[in-house]
């Protein structure tokens, strides 16, 4: 179990770093897909089967296809060499990132949460559905709000992509 976690974590972190350092956006997208898949497997190790499936379907499937489509539409495959006005910002950004990860990890290492771990069953679609649509739980109203949000996003994307508004 520890070995599996170490393997998946290494894949996720290495692919994440490679995603950031790539110049070609298509390669970045493919590395992001690898990160998504390793995160889906990590969700499985946390007994979240439904979340893992949704991660693969929504993130690695739908969202990444959207990214690839836009890269294709914008013809960004070969980045032309242009003067980079953000050169001084790069070092500063990496420095700030190192500070952030240092702060976060040092906070976590100092505070080991005590307590035994939960030995629950696999949380599948049934449990998620029963919780989501239970009127006694607070998730039904956010569900409806999210449906409106998705409708607004779809209409907004169509409006933005139109030739003449």
């Amino acid at each position: 179990m520890t070995l599996l976690f170490a393997l998946l974590a290494t894949i996720a972190v290495v692919c994440g770093i490679l995603m950031v350092v790539q110049e070609n956006p298509v390669r970045s997208a493919l590395f992001l897909v690898l990160v998504m898949f390793s995160l889906a497997l990590l969700y499985l190790t946390l007994n979240a089967a439904f979340i893992a499936a949704v991660q693969v379907v929504v993130y690695a499937g739908a969202i990444m296809v959207l990214f690839i489509f836009v890269i294709m539409l914008l013809n960004l495959g070969t980045p032309e060499p242009m003067p980079n006005k953000l050169k001084p910002q790069t070092l500063l950004g990496i420095f700030a990132g190192l500070i952030l990860v240092g702060v976060l990890v040092s906070m976590l290492v100092g505070n080991q949460p005590t307590g035994e771990t939960l030995t629950s069953n696999l949380v599948g679609a049934k449990e998620i559905g029963l919780t989501l649509f239970d009127p006694g739980k607070p998730w039904l109203f956010p569900f409806e709000v999210v449906s409106i949000l998705l409708l607004v996003a779809a209409v907004g994307a169509v409006m933005l992509a139109k030739k003449r508004i």
């Binding site: 179990m1 972190v13 959207l66 980079n84 500063l92 990890v105 939960l118 949000l149 994307a157």
Partner: protein
């Protein structure tokens, strides 16, 4: 299946992934890669939520919550995913319309709102 990996391991991995996303947003010029880094940050937060929902049992036992509350973190992950999908569709639509007007979408060349 009793996990031998501690909660902190997941949280540290999540912190590292989040930081990679933040650094990418700070240093990249291509807004599509910036969007991908935002997705990476959202995913790191999702990992935190799922890990907390997995390791919630002792808190639930001591505060009188039922173990069914352990699923709450996963419900939040579903909503985060829905919001991420909406954000990406609108954001990429904006990028397409910027590209139509300016032919370049590098973030260091879009300075119309600079005073």
């Amino acid at each position: 299946m009793v996990p031998s990996v501690s909660l902190n391991s997941y949280l540290i991995l999540s912190a590292i992934l989040f930081t990679i996303g933040v650094t990418g947003v700070l240093i990249k010029r291509n807004p599509i890669i910036i969007f991908m880094c935002v997705e990476l940050m959202l995913n790191a937060v999702n990992l935190t939520l799922v890990a907390f929902s997995r390791y919630q049992s002792t808190v639930a036992a001591s505060t009188g919550l039922t173990p069914s509350h352990a699923i709450d973190g996963q419900m939040m992950v579903i909503f985060v995913m829905a919001v991420a999908a909406a954000e990406v569709s609108v954001g990429l639509g904006i990028l397409v319309s910027i590209f139509r007007n300016r032919t370049s979408i590098n973030v260091d060349e879009i300075d119309l709102m600079k005073g």
